[in-house]
């Protein structure tokens, strides 16, 4: 083999190796660029997920806080309404007590007693009046035209009530509680809606 031929072979081998090395490096660089793009795409997807999660968290928080606030506000308003309605009933009791000694109070006492007698209908009845109204009921009983078969005795023992009376049969089987407290209690239950409507109309 001539020296020239040998040199040519040497050159070809080195050139092939360099070309192969260059091809491999370029391929690796292309792969690297592709991998980077892929990583960026994955990162963008992750970013979207992070954003979506944050938006969802915000929605949940808004729903929770607003519904809680609306519920608390509604409860507060309702409580305040109840306070104002209770105030009307408490004021009514105070006003009823203030009416004692006035004509309307006596008219009421007479009316309530007549009505209670009518409801029981017959027999010897026992009336227990509150300490403040005992005298009033004694006078009313004396002046009432009792229906046939009815008698009413005012008991000496007074009721621990703000006013008015209870009426019962001799055997205590029937008892009508017309004390102011009982009537106010009944009114509170029966008229609560109506009073609220009057107050807030």
């Amino acid at each position: 083999m001539s020296t020239l031929a040998l040199s040519k072979i040497e050159e070809e081998i080195l050139t092939d190796a360099q070309e192969e090395a260059k091809r491999r490096v370029e391929e690796a660089e292309r792969d690297a660029a592709a991998a980077l793009e892929k990583a960026k795409a994955e990162a963008r997807r992750e970013v979207e997920e992070v954003k979506a999660a944050a938006q969802e968290k915000i929605k949940v928080l808004e729903r929770k806080k607003l519904s809680e606030a609306r519920r608390n506000a509604a409860i507060t308003v309702l409580k305040e309404k109840n306070v104002l309605v209770d105030k009307a009933f408490n004021e009514a009791l105070r006003r009823v007590k203030d009416l004692r000694g006035e004509e309307v109070y006596e008219k009421s006492a007479r009316h309530l007693l007549e009505e209670a007698i009518k409801r029981i209908g017959t027999g010897d009845l026992k009336l227990r009046a509150s300490r403040n109204d005992r005298k009033l009921y004694e006078d009313i009983v004396k002046s009432l035209n009792m229906p046939a078969g009815v008698s009413v005795a005012v008991e000496k023992e007074s009721l621990p009530a703000a006013g008015s009376f209870t009426l019962s049969t001799a055997d205590d089987q029937i008892n009508i509680d017309n004390t102011l407290e009982a009537r106010l209690d009944f009114a509170t239950r029966a008229l609560r809606k109506e009073i609220a409507a009057i107050l807030f109309e």
Binding site: L6, E10, R24, A53, K65, L84, K87, H111, A187, I198
Partner: protein, 106 residues
């Protein structure tokens, strides 16, 4: 001469092999660098998004708190209106209860 030629060719083949091996080392470095860069980009993007989301969340939370305040203010307004109405109508309501308790009109 033939022996000498074989020796020269073997030597040149070794050089060629070395060129390929150096390229392979470079390729490994390229891959490592690429992986590191990809991870760096991913972390940076996600971290930036996380920080932006946190800021967005804080903004939203402040807006929600304002809305909550509005609800409470509205309730206070409703209560004030109810209180005013009840003051105006209290006498009528009390008279209605008094009548019911006494059993006669007043």
């Amino acid at each position: 001469m033939a022996v000498e030629a074989v020796k020269r060719i073997r030597s040149i083949e070794e050089k060629a092999q070395k060129i390929i091996e150096e390229a392979e080392v470079k390729i490994v470095e390229i891959r490592k660098r690429s992986e590191a860069e990809a991870e760096k980009v991913r972390v940076a993007l996600v971290e930036e998004a996380r920080q932006r989301s946190e800021a967005t969340f804080k903004d939203a939370e402040a807006k929600i708190n304002l809305k909550v305040k509005e609800v409470l203010t509205e309730a206070k307004g409703t209560i004030a209106a109810l209180s005013e109405k009840s003051s105006k109508n209290m006498d009528k309501a009390v008279k209605r209860v008094v009548s019911a308790v006494l059993g006669v009109a007043i």
